[in-house]
C-alpha cells in the first residue's frame, strides 16, 4: 500500500510523516506541491509546518496548489486523507472539513506532550484505537483553536464526527475541546496534534501515534 506525503514550500513534518508511514507498514511516496498526478497512491497525508509561510491565513495558499486539485477529487471519491496540524488547516480551507483553525486563545505558540482521547474509531485513520482510548502525542501550533458556528458544532457532535478531544485543560481555546474531526464518510480526518512525532519512545514521548498509520492499512484491506 502506498501513502503519499505532500511537501509544500514551508512544510516541516513531511519526513517524520513518511517515517511514520513506513513504520506503520506502508510505503511512503513523496508528493510535491506542483505535482499534477498522485503517483498511484492509495491514501494521502498533508503534514504539518508553515506552508507558504502561513501567509494570508494558515493553509489558504496551499489549498490552491496543483497537487491539491487531485487530492480533493480523490478524497471526495473516498480516498483516505489525513491532515495534521497545518494539514488540518488546509483541509478546513478547502472546505473538505467544516470550521476553521484560529489563533490560540492565549496567543502563545504551544509545544507540549498532550493527552487526547480518541472518540471515533470508525474512520480510516483511527480504527486501530479503542473507543475512548487516551493517548499522549505532541501538540505544537500557533493557530490550533478549532472554531465553527453552533449549528456545525451540533452536527459534528450529533454525528459522532469528533475524532479526538483534548483531555484536561483546554490548551488552545478549541470549541468543545476538539483536537480532530472527520467528514461524513470517515475517510478524511483533520488532527491538530502530531501522531507522526510519537511512533517510538526513542524519538517521541510515546508510540501512541502509530495507530493512525496502521489504521489506514485496515481501511485499504477492506
Amino acid at each position: 500500500m502506498k501513502v503519499g506525503v505532500v511537501t509544500f514550500p514551508g512544510t516541516l513534518d513531511d519526513r517524520d510523516a513518511a517515517r511514520a508511514v513506513t513504520t506503520g507498514g506502508a510505503t511512503a511516496i513523496s508528493l510535491w506541491h506542483k505535482d499534477a498526478d498522485l503517483k498511484g497512491v492509495d491514501a494521502v497525508i498533508l503534514p504539518g509546518g508553515f506552508s507558504y509561510g502561513d501567509y494570508l491565513r494558515c493553509g489558504a495558499i496551499s489549498r490552491f496548489a496543483p497537487v491539491m486539485e487531485k487530492i480533493i477529487d480523490a478524497a471526495k471519491g473516498g480516498m483516505p486523507l489525513l491532515g495534521i496540524c497545518n494539514g488540518f488547516q488546509v483541509l478546513c480551507e478547502t472546505h473538505l472539513l467544516p470550521g476553521a483553525l484560529t489563533r490560540n486563545s492565549e496567543l502563545h505558540f504551544l509545544c507540549t506532550d498532550q493527552k487526547i482521547s480518541i472518540e471515533n474509531t470508525t474512520t480510516a485513520w483511527t480504527s486501530s484505537f479503542t473507543q475512548g482510548q487516551e493517548i499522549v502525542i505532541p501538540l505544537k501550533n500557533g493557530e490550533g483553536a478549532f472554531m465553527c458556528d453552533d449549528e456545525t458544532l451540533a452536527v459534528l457532535e450529533g454525528e459522532g464526527r469528533i475524532v479526538a478531544r483534548y483531555v484536561g485543560e483546554n490548551p488552545n481555546g478549541s470549541r468543545n475541546l476538539i483536537a480532530g474531526i472527520t467528514n461524513e464518510r470517515g475517510n478524511i480526518v483533520g488532527l491538530m496534534p502530531h501522531p507522526e512525532h510519537a511512533i517510538n519512545t526513542l524519538t517521541g514521548p510515546t508510540a501512541d501515534g502509530l495507530g493512525f498509520f496502521t489504521s489506514v492499512l485496515n481501511a485499504m484491506v477492506k
Binding site: 491565513r57 476553521a100 484560529t102 492565549e106 481555546g173
Partner: protein, 81 residues
C-alpha cells in the same frame, strides 16, 4: 489609477485574541478610551483606470474565495479615491 480596498474582519462571534491583547495593552500606556479592539486585515489592490462594475464583482468573488475565509471572516470591498 484607482485603488480597490478590501477590509477583512473576523466575525463578531469569533474570538480575536490579537485584538484582546491590543485592548489590554492600551490602558497600560495610559490610553483609556477603548471599550474593545478587533484586529483585521486590509488589502489594497491597484488597477489601471477607474474600476468597472464587472471588475468590482470579480474582486468580490476573489475576496470570497481567497482574501477572506467566509467561515470565520467577513469582508467589505470599496474603491478609494
Amino acid at each position: 489609477m484607482a485603488k480597490i480596498v478590501v477590509d477583512v474582519m473576523l466575525k463578531p462571534e469569533i474570538l480575536d485574541p490579537q485584538g484582546s491583547a491590543v485592548s489590554a495593552a492600551l490602558p497600560r500606556l495610559g490610553f483609556t478610551f477603548a471599550k474593545s479592539v478587533r484586529q483585521g486585515k486590509r488589502f489594497e489592490i491597484e488597477i489601471e483606470g477607474e474600476p468597472t462594475a464587472a471588475q468590482l464583482a470579480e474582486v468580490e468573488v476573489a475576496a470570497e474565495k481567497l482574501l477572506a475565509n467566509p467561515v470565520i471572516e467577513t469582508f467589505v470591498v470599496r474603491v478609494e479615491k
